[in-house]
Symmetry: C2
Subunit: 149 residues, 2 copies
Amino acid sequence: MAAAQEYTVRKLEAGDFDKGFLQVLGHLTTVGDVSREVFEEQMRRRDASGAYHTVVIEDQGRVVATASMVVELKFIHGCSKVGHIEDVVVHPGMRGKRLGLMLVEALIEAARADGCYKVILDCAESNQAFYEKAGLQRKEVQMVRYLDR
Amino acid sequence: MAAAQEYTVRKLEAGDFDKGFLQVLGHLTTVGDVSREVFEEQMRRRDASGAYHTVVIEDQGRVVATASMVVELKFIHGCSKVGHIEDVVVHPGMRGKRLGLMLVEALIEAARADGCYKVILDCAESNQAFYEKAGLQRKEVQMVRYLDR
């Protein structure tokens, strides 16, 4: 009898380029043709800033879920910090296993460890109930302006 | 006869600590007791990251309006960037002069110059019409979790 499947949240690694990291993001939005060099350079820039947390869950050698957070340095609230959770996605074939929740909870813990006074994210109204499971509450409205159109 | 008042958008400077920068932010939310040293250290951290734009408008030697943007490095959209506009506030006595709009437009131009494919922000529903004047459109909902309560 097979043991119950256990999943582990870990940090993004350069080797995840070969494990389908960008393909998983492609289930969220357009990723485009990102070369290994461009991916690694962006990872280096993000790592160097110290402002990013990107977590993944792997299954059978493939990245099947990911989420990111950028930590913003504020002047308000005593020069505090805010964690912006971004780009949360689970491979369609792996949904319903609470992987997304594991990732969001890991980022919330990272935000707490970094000294953030809050975490925020923007999502479609249809995902509100999912984020409520992670203790988030609806507050404001998101406004957007696209610059590349 | 006095000339029509002209306002100029400029970058935040260390000397704005003495020109009421934090007091203006205090019209937005809690700032707390931030010393000059803490302010300057946060400014250095933000400047060193290269990810922040903070703009102000001055009137008679006082900062009367400010807005910030943090530029997030993405993997999506060909490792593109997104500008998060934050902490837009105009001194209550200086509202109705389009200063907020000047600041937001300056940040949108900075986002474009930095190669952002979009700018986003979260605001109260009551401020939606203001941001529509700057070409933004309502899209998603904001979710929040406070960590310091």
